[in-house]
């Protein structure tokens, strides 16, 4: 037995496959094919949740994605806790563990439900009006309490071990929703030969057909017809059917995102399967067949467990073989509720009374209900209910001709079913930026014109009934027209009672009218003030009722009030699905140089520079970083060191106008640079500020080898492309990123020439033949190479560029030679120290986007007499030449052993009062092994005029006095450059 309320036959569940599951620690049995909601109802459990604000006991309201009340957490072990799932969408499997939320200590007894007693004092927006006195209590008392009371499910703990993936797909026709209209559209598209994707949020395709009990289609019962239609579609190789897949986002150019839940329904998931897949589908045409959502009715105390949507109750019976109770009162503002009553009565439920607020109902289903002897009262409504954890009686009153309600009869019932008609699911149409039109007969919005290749069919287009969904070619019998529909609040005679509109957020009809009274007229204001429609169901059952209440209360028509906007996602989607495989190293790729493996083998310590891993230093056994860096620095200055500079950005600039292009882009002069020579280039942005630098070599009249900073490689290439394509399309040049094509090995130090000489062919390395700032092509270690004679250390230096594939071999060959001269491999820290000793800047360290060349003492680099270059005009602005600019200086702390903090501010006073603007800040600071003391570079206001002054770096432990010097600490004459 899988529950006392399970029928003996019927439905799509498998009674032969009982499944055990737990809810709040209690063991239950359900059937294969059950949702958690249907399995709980089969066991007589309606109480499934607590509301957000008042913690009112709530039951299962619906049978699908619109469920606002029955939210649960599902625990599948460490890292696998999922909060806030709708019980109506959770498929049970053997061993499922579910728990209710937002209650302490238990669902039946929740201490926070005390809030319900305070309800008269805490209507919509009450928190804007109070908690302001006394000062300080908000932060210490009120807010923490509010936060603790808010929230629904608990956050998972521990990393989620499951995988999430993404798929990209193109098709001619994407059909969203596999109900009758969607299946008809998919069949038509398949017949045309389209590639078709048919997705549906439910566990099995079929939509309303899965619970259709009356109609016959082409002579078959609905389920048989469905099985045949699906089999036909499944046999089409160009058709993909995706169950458990929600189309949740509709973007520009018919781009639709789908979330497929792959393994949640399995007791033992295949470890090779991802938990979810995010599909990104580009479709020629999108057919929306998303159906409609039944509308609750707003009447006093309409929120007790046992009060359900009528057609949802019928679905539980027809699809899951579950009777929602023993004795039902049906509040029917739409004919479909009569159909529900008929089906439930046929299954043996007692229909205590059908209450219809309409004066008359002469549709086919009401007539059948009356003919079947079901008791019906027209022009009546429910004005109250009783029952704390389950409804046990309803109070029925008569609506008079004046709209007032009189006379109350008490009807006992354990289930109250309601239907206010249907709201077409226009969410995706609206996300596609389609217009909406209001249909008074349905009391609902239906799709209007759309700017995208998208159409809505079936119930979501306001076309109800199987015949409309399936089209004239399909013969449908017993598909009576159903009429009715009501939006807004039903009349009642109980001024103090609460009639709920948004069940999850506890928004009542009175809250909505209060918002209007307080001047919140726009529906968006009403929504934000009352939080109506802001719950996890995003207003699926509440928006139209709220709109109608607002319209009625403010004397406007519903279309005049307008809708709040529909946004993605249609239903919530996991963060995991969005991230997909973009985690860890696939979130942000790790880039390594061709020499990386060698450095790893040598025990180098690495640092992250953007995406690159760079060797920071090469410690020997027993050395800490400082010791290693001192040793590396000393070795380079005394003998030589080799350094992996492969991360430098490299761009090949080629073409007739290559020199002209660089002339316009960089501050320097390029036209007169001879082939075989290099120059240090500086790049500004339009505002005149330094954004990149690097050595540029001219290999031929029409060919330049441009280097950029490591971090600037992509940015500089983009900027170059931008200028070529938009500003100077007349220039004949081609740009190619060659960063990853060249391995770059810097050989620096007095022994550099001797190290390279035995390996070099075709290049005369002698001082006279190969001067500083020259470039030559030849072979190094047998490999074609571009050899630059450049120095970022102040020592004699070469940079060997070889094809990346041979970088490691050439490095090892150079290393072999280097070892003979007792040279070292050095890392980025030593590189930083050596260049700082020489006052060479690093863009991004000595510059911060507010620095012009002259601030750095690099005004000399600007080509004299150049007509223009990027940023030139900005350099002529008055404030760029005004006194007070921060200029690059050297700083020597009074205590030579004190290494200043990088980022320390520089001020003129030892104890500056708060608010004193800094004169500047320390940009680089190191221990210099060469000088045997600390050194620092800084940007200081009017710095060049302050040489010799003492300034202060205020630190938490007291101000550190520093002397201002020039930025070049070592070998200012540059004697070492020639070795």
């Amino acid at each position: 037995m899988t529950g006392a309320f399970r029928t003996t036959t019927g439905g799509r569940i498998d009674r032969a496959r009982p499944l055990s599951f737990r809810f709040d620690g209690r063991a239950f049995t359900g059937c294969a094919g059950d949702t958690l909601a249907s399995a709980l109802l089969a066991n007589g459990v309606h109480l499934a949740g607590r509301s957000f604000k008042y913690h009112r006991p709530r039951g299962i309201l619906a049978a699908g994605a619109e469920e606002p009340n029955a939210l649960v957490g599902i625990d599948r072990g460490p890292g696998r806790y999922a909060p806030n799932l709708r019980a109506t969408q959770v498929e049970i499997h053997d061993g499922l563990v579910a728990e209710s939320q937002n209650r302490t200590p238990s669902l039946r007894f929740d201490i926070a439900a005390l809030a319900d007693f305070a309800a008269p004092l805490i209507p919509a927006g009450f928190y804007y009006k109070t908690f302001m006195q006394p000062a300080g209590w908000w932060a210490k008392l009120y807010e923490p309490r509010i936060r603790a009371a808010a929230g629904l499910g608990r956050a998972p703990r521990g990393a989620d071990p499951d995988r999430y993936t993404q798929r990209y797909a193109h098709c001619e026709t994407l059909v969203v929703g596999a109900g009758p209209a969607g299946i008809a559209a998919a069949r038509a598209a398949a017949a045309r030969g389209d590639r078709v994707i048919l997705c549906d949020e439910q566990a099995e395709p079929g939509g309303s057909l899965l619970a259709e009990t009356r109609a016959r289609i082409d002579g078959l019962c609905a389920q048989d017809w469905l099985a045949a239609a699906l089999a036909e579609l499944a046999a089409e190789p160009r058709v993909t059917i995706l169950p458990r897949t929600t189309a949740f986002g509709y973007f520009a150019q018919n781009f639709v995102a789908l979330a497929e839940r792959v393994t949640d329904h399995l007791a033992v998931p295949d470890p090779n399967l991802p938990r979810e897949r995010l599909w990104q589908v580009r479709a020629r045409e999108v057919v929306l067949a998303t159906g409609a959502i039944e509308r609750p009715l707003v009447f006093p105390e309409n929120d007790r467990p046992g009060i359900m949507l009528a057609d949802s109750a019928r679905t539980y019976l027809a699809r899951y073989g579950v009777k929602p109770g023993c004795r039902a009162l049906v509040l029917a503002a739409h004919d479909d509720a009569y159909g529900a009553a008929l089906d439930l009565a046929a299954a043996g439920m007692e229909i205590a009374l059908i209450v219809d607020p309409r004066p008359a109902a002469d549709g086919e289903l009401p007539r059948r209900a009356m003919a079947a002897g079901l008791p019906v009262r027209m022009s009546a409504t429910v004005v109250g209910t009783r029952g704390r954890l389950r409804v046990h009686e309803a109070h029925v009153g008569t609506i008079g001709a004046d709209g007032g309600v009189r006379g109350v009869d008490v009807v006992s019932c354990d289930t109250l079913l309601m239907s206010g008609g249907w709201t077409p699911s226009v969410h995706l149409h609206s996300q596609a930026r389609g217009k909406l039109a209001f249909r008074a007969d349905l009391q609902a919005f239906v799709p209007g014109a759309t700017p995208q290749a998208c159409r809505s069919v079936g119930a979501c287009a306001g076309e109800f009934g199987l015949q409309a969904a399936l089209g004239p070619a399909t013969r449908v019998e017993d598909d009576p027209v159903r009429e009715g529909g009501f939006a807004g609040a039903l009349p009642h005679d109980r001024p103090r009672a609460r009639a709920f509109v948004d069940f999850q957020n506890d928004v009542t009809a009175k809250d909505l009218t209060l918002a209007l009274r307080e001047g919140f007229r726009s529906i968006e204001h009403v929504k934000r003030y009352t939080t109506n429609g802001m719950a996890t169901d995003q207003g699926k059952t509440s928006n139209i009722n709220a709109l109608a209440i607002v319209a009625a209360a403010s004397g406007r028509a519903i279309p005049e009030v307008g809708l709040t906007s529909f946004r993605q996602p249609y239903t919530p989607v996991t963060f995991g699905a969005f991230a997909g495989t973009s985690r860890g190293e696939l979130f942000d790729p790790v880039r390594t140089t061709p020499i990386h493996g060698w450095a790893v083998a040598q025990g180098a310590i690495f640092e992250d520079v953007g995406q690159w891993k760079r060797a920071h230093h090469f410690p020997r056994p027993g050395e800490d970083m400082h010791a290693a860096v001192r040793r590396e620095c000393a070795a380079v200055r005394a003998r030589a060191g080799i350094f992996d500079a492969s991360t430098l950005g490299k761009i090949e600039v080629v073409g007739r106008d290559a020199a002209e292009f660089l002339e316009r882009l960089y501050v320097n002069s390029w036209k007169k640079l001879e082939p075989g020579r290099c120059r240090y280039g500086i790049l500004l942005n339009e505002a005149g500020f330094v954004i990149d630098d690097g050595v540029i070599g001219r290999l031929a009249p029409d060919r330049f080898h441009v280097t950029t900073t490591t971090g600037g490689a992509a940015r500089v290439l983009s900027m170059m492309e931008d200028y070529v394509q938009t500003e100077w399309p007349d220039l004949q040049i081609w740009l190619t990123s060659t960063t990853e094509q060249w391995a770059v090995i810097a050989v620096q130090g007095p022994k550099a020439r001797e190290i390279l000489a035995p390996l070099t062919e075709g290049i005369d390395l002698s001082r006279d033949a190969f001067a500083h700032m020259a470039v030559r092509e030849g072979r190094v270690a047998g490999v074609p190479a571009r050899l630059f004679r450049v120095s970022f250390t102040g020592e004699l230096g070469f940079e060997v560029n070889v094809p990346a594939g041979q970088g490691r071999a050439v490095w090892e060959a150079i290393w072999e030679q280097a070892r003979r001269h007792d040279a070292v491999a050095y890392g980025t820290e030593t590189m930083h120290v050596l260049r700082a000793e020489k006052g060479y800047i690093i863009v991004g360290q000595e510059t911060d986007g507010t620095v012009v060349p002259d601030d750095l003492g690099l005004g000399w680099a600007i080509g004299k007499g150049k007509r223009d270059f990027v940023g030139k005009r900005s350099l002529s602005r008055p404030d760029i030449a005004a006194p007070g600019r921060k200029q690059l200086v050297g700083l020597l702390s009074a205590d030579p052993g004190h290494v200043l903090d990088e980022g320390a501010q520089i001020v003129a006073m030892r104890d500056p009062p708060p608010g004193t603007p800094a004169l500047g800040h320390v940009t680089s600071s190191y221990w210099s092994a060469t000088l045997g003391r600390s050194i620092a570079l800084a940007l200081v206001a009017d710095g060049r005029a302050r040489h010799g002054q003492t300034l202060f770096a205020p630190m938490p432990g007291g101000a550190v006095p520093v002397a201002v010097t020039g930025p070049v600490f070592h070998d200012p004459e540059g004697r070492s450059l020639d070795g």
Partner: protein
């Protein structure tokens, strides 16, 4: 104006809340005003309030195309902070934060300012050095800030992945304890109600379609509800400011981009700080309702369309999971986009427009919300005195011609 208090709430509770007056009136526009503010967002409404309160200028209208707070004021991630680098910005945003701290009592509207602390993570040694420079600058500027070790951060944000094996491992960070969040709608409504009580007309559904000129001087605006003359016109239309400027015949150095934000389904208290992670491009906080609020970087292309796209959503959420790998099963509930008006030095523009009679408040980029009280205060001063408030002297339009840019993004490595 009925004062809001626990007592008024109790009193009204006994009578079914029938006595609450409108939070603000719904007046028809009059033919002319001393000052017309275009844009009923936080900045426009705060400006109107301070014009009335600080300067006694009460014949003021705020014109809003749709409903007040429809633009960025209702579409942000509600972060407030003053952790700025340059003295000009630090002084300005600190003033804003101080006004926020007293805003609830000042406006008699609970703006739900929650100073829960804002942590900026450092994901590399270089980041850490930048953070130190930043903290030092804040100390000099007299603003609270403190460096944090990775252990400190792990203690304060237990589910943050502080392991050294993370793709962007956390090397430390710094915190402004007074930073936090506020309730964005409450800020809009609080200023609207307080301004209305001082006589300001808040006119919604009133779109400005052009300007009326008296010689070279702008003397009024044409609107969907008729012509409205104005002694002075203040433009505070955020992402659409450049469109208004175009109507008035001048250009602004603004580029408009969409900035997207995302919220999760509500969770019980989980994240007690605002966490900003420059390396993953994500920041996160938890609202008082329990939703996790995520933001990221701007969209890559200029646009005036208030809509999102999938790639940015994917990037933000994967960055979020890099920080919080336990959150993969939590679900994202809602997404929105605001239109940010970005200036290339990422500092705002407050001051005179090139057209006489028009004053500008714009260029807030992604950081307009946190600036609202100070933006309103200083803009009101600037309009009232026809001269910039001392706090915004550096933020005039002329700085682009002079070259006196205040480049916070460049200095701090993070956009506003």
């Amino acid at each position: 104006m009925t004062r809001y208090s626990l007592w008024s709430l109790l009193r009204e509770g006994l009578t079914g809340h029938r006595g609450w007056p409108k939070a603000w009136r719904d007046p028809a526009p009059r033919p002319s005003y001393d000052v017309v503010i275009v844009g009923g967002g936080g900045h426009g409404l705060a400006t109107a309030f301070y014009l009335a309160r600080n300067h006694g200028i009460r014949n003021v209208a705020v014109l809003e195309r749709g409903w007040i707070g429809q633009g960025n004021s209702g579409r942000n991630t509600t972060v407030i902070r003053s952790n700025y680098f340059f003295p000009e910005s630090a002084a300005f945003y600190e003033f804003a934060l101080r006004l926020y701290e007293t805003s609830a009592r000042e406006l008699n509207f609970n703006t739900m300012v929650s100073q829960r602390g804002l942590i900026t993570l450092s994901h590399s040694r270089h980041d850490l050095e930048g953070a130190r420079r930043w903290v030092n600058a804040m100390h000099l500027n007299g603003i609270d800030s403190e460096m944090l070790t990775t252990a400190d951060i792990a203690r304060m944000v237990p589910d943050l992945d502080c392991s050294p094996g993370a793709r962007h491992p956390i090397h430390g960070g710094f915190m402004q304890r007074r930073g936090g969040i506020a309730r964005h709608d409450a800020v809009v409504w609080g200023y609207a109600r307080a301004a209305d009580a001082l006589g300001v007309d808040i006119i919604q559904n009133c779109e400005v379609t052009g300007f009326v000129f008296d010689g070279p001087r702008a003397a009024g605006v044409q609107t969907s509800r008729g012509t409205i003359m104005a002694g002075r016109i203040g433009l505070a239309a955020a992402g659409h400011q450049s469109v208004l400027a175009g109507m008035a015949g001048f250009r602004l150095p603004l580029t408009t981009y969409a900035l997207q934000a995302f919220v999760s389904e509500p969770l019980k208290p989980w994240l007690d700080k605002v966490v900003i992670s420059p390396a993953t491009g994500v920041y996160a906080s938890q609202s008082d309702k329990g939703e996790i609020v995520l933001g990221g970087a701007l969209d890559l292309y200029p646009s005036y369309a208030q809509r999102g796209n999938l790639p940015v959503a994917e990037h933000v959420m994967s960055g979020f999971l890099e920080l919080f790998p336990s959150m993969a099963r939590v679900r994202f509930l809602r997404q929105w986009a605001g239109m940010t008006d970005v200036v290339h030095d990422s500092s705002p523009i407050i001051g005179a427009a090139p057209v006489e009679g028009i004053w500008l408040n714009c260029g807030w980029g992604t950081g307009g919300f946190k600036a609202i009280p100070a933006g309103g205060w200083t803009f009101a001063h600037t309009i009232a005195n026809q001269a910039p408030h001392p706090l915004v002297e550096g933020f005039g339009l002329d700085r682009f011609a002079r070259g006196a840019l205040i480049d916070e993004a460049a200095a701090s490595g993070i956009a506003h």
